[in-house]
């Protein structure tokens, strides 16, 4: 009787392990190295000229997003430096923010939620608070750094004006950078005020 029970247990165990292995193999297909996630990104030039300075100043201090451990990692003169350029010679607080750092900041921002960013661009920037990037500083979701923006402050208005610059037509056709709208005078003023604020 005991031997039968033992045999049954062994058979069940081996069968279960085989099933588990099969399930694992089904899940773990080899990654496709050529696969890309295409992101419809907001206007890069406007980001560089009007938005990056505000975000680096507001969010990029060394004790906040100017850290390697942050998914939204910010490089700037006032904070963390991109050490893969200029032989790692950039020092926090010294040289001006470099173009490569601005590009890295832009890439960090748009790749936080690439699909959500694409959807936002597809609807011409309407309802931007869907982005985690705004939900956190607005404290719609938990943010360790506390509230960092409000819907009526110049920084938020600067960022959302930038996100509302159409980068695709209604049918999804991309709009070339040179043909895209520019920030309004009011939006530019908001960006400047937000950047100048200590």
């Amino acid at each position: 009787m005991k031997a039968t029970a033992l045999r049954t247990a062994v058979i069940m165990g081996v069968g279960g392990a085989a099933l588990g292995l099969l399930a694992l193999a089904a899940c773990a297909s080899s990654p496709d190295e050529n696969r890309l996630t295409v992101v419809i990104t907001p206007d890069f030039n406007t980001y560089v000229t009007s938005v990056d300075a505000y975000l680096t100043r507001r969010c990029g201090s060394l004790d906040c997003h100017g850290q390697p451990g942050r998914a939204y990692r910010i490089y700037s003169r006032e904070g963390y430096r991109l050490y893969t350029i200029q032989d790692g010679s950039l020092v926090s607080g010294q040289q001006p923010t470099q173009p490569e750092e601005q590009r890295a900041n832009f890439q960090a921002l748009v790749s936080l939620e690439p699909e959500e960013m694409s959807r936002l661009m597809g609807r011409q920037g309407e309802n931007p608070n869907q982005l985690l990037f705004l939900r956190k500083p607005l404290k719609i979701e938990r943010h360790k750094g506390g509230p960092a923006m409000a819907e009526d402050d110049p920084g938020y208005l600067c960022v959302t004006s930038w996100l509302k610059i159409p980068v695709v037509q209604g049918d999804g056709t991309p709009i070339p950078p040179a043909q895209r709208a520019k920030l309004s005078a009011n939006a530019l003023r908001n960006c400047q005020t937000a950047t100048d604020f200590p």
């Binding site: 100043r57 990029g60 201090s61 060394l62 004790d63 906040c64 390697p68 003169r77 006032e78 904070g79 963390y80 430096r81 991109l82 050490y83 790692g88 950039l90 020092v91 926090s92 607080g93 010294q94 360790k144 750094g145 506390g146 200590p198």
Partner: protein, 224 residues
């Protein structure tokens, strides 16, 4: 009946043993630090150096991250909401700024000023700045003779302001790392950017600390 009594006693004993076990583990948790990251950070500070400063006093460990230990996670008894050390130059550990006015501005236009001691240390306890909220702007000023008698006593020798704000870190030295200037740290807080500028300026540096100098407990704006 006798059997049931025995069983009740056994159960009571088992419950007491469980309670004692939980209490033991709980007390270990409160006296020792069970957070391995925090524990490693504290251990990495190393031992106190009695030849450099009086251990476990307000003068100790200049340039180190004060609020690592002076936090709710311990092991220090007091908690700081902001603390740091001011140096004259970017490299030398032995040239620290005594009697410097450290002015802190909060987002609700609150301001407070604190004074460094003879080892360059300053610290802010929560009761010292009740409405403190981050982000903070900070400036440091050293005048000729703080709280001194002469007409030029409060004339500024040097003022430095942080070019960015403090987002939420209580220890200055977490970002302003002692003896390091690189992509991740601007280096120790200093009044001059080079040691040769300090040589030229010849600022007052206390020969020893603690010393007999009268302490300066308040900034000019807080004095009666």
């Amino acid at each position: 009946m006798r059997h049931s009594h025995h069983s009740l006693r056994e159960r009571l004993g088992a419950s007491l043993a469980l309670f004692a076990g939980v209490a033991l583990v709980g007390s270990m948790g409160s006296s020792c630090n069970l957070d391995p990251v925090h524990r490693a950070g504290v251990n990495n500070l190393g031992d106190e150096q009695p030849d450099l400063y009086p251990p476990e006093t307000e003068y100790h460990r200049p340039g180190e991250p004060c609020a690592l230990c002076h936090s709710s996670a311990g092991p220090a008894d007091t908690q700081f909401v902001l603390a740091g050390t001011i140096f004259w130059g970017p490299d030398r550990y032995d040239r620290r700024v005594d009697k410097a006015y450290v002015r802190i501005g909060g987002p609700e236009k609150t301001t407070k000023c604190f004074v460094t001691n003879c080892n360059g240390n300053f610290y802010v306890r929560s009761e010292d700045y009740k409405n403190l909220k981050f982000p903070l702007l900070v400036s440091v000023e050293r005048v000729n003779d703080p709280a001194g008698p002469g007409p030029d006593a409060e004339k500024s020798i040097r003022v430095r302001r942080m070019s960015s704000h403090i987002g939420r870190e209580a220890s200055c030295a977490t970002c302003h790392i002692l003896g390091l200037r690189d992509f991740g740290s601007p280096g120790q807080i200093r009044m001059y950017d080079t040691e040769s500028e300090v040589d030229v300026a010849k600022p007052p540096i206390p020969a020893q600390c603690p010393n007999e100098d009268p302490p300066v407990p308040q900034c000019p704006e807080d004095r009666p």
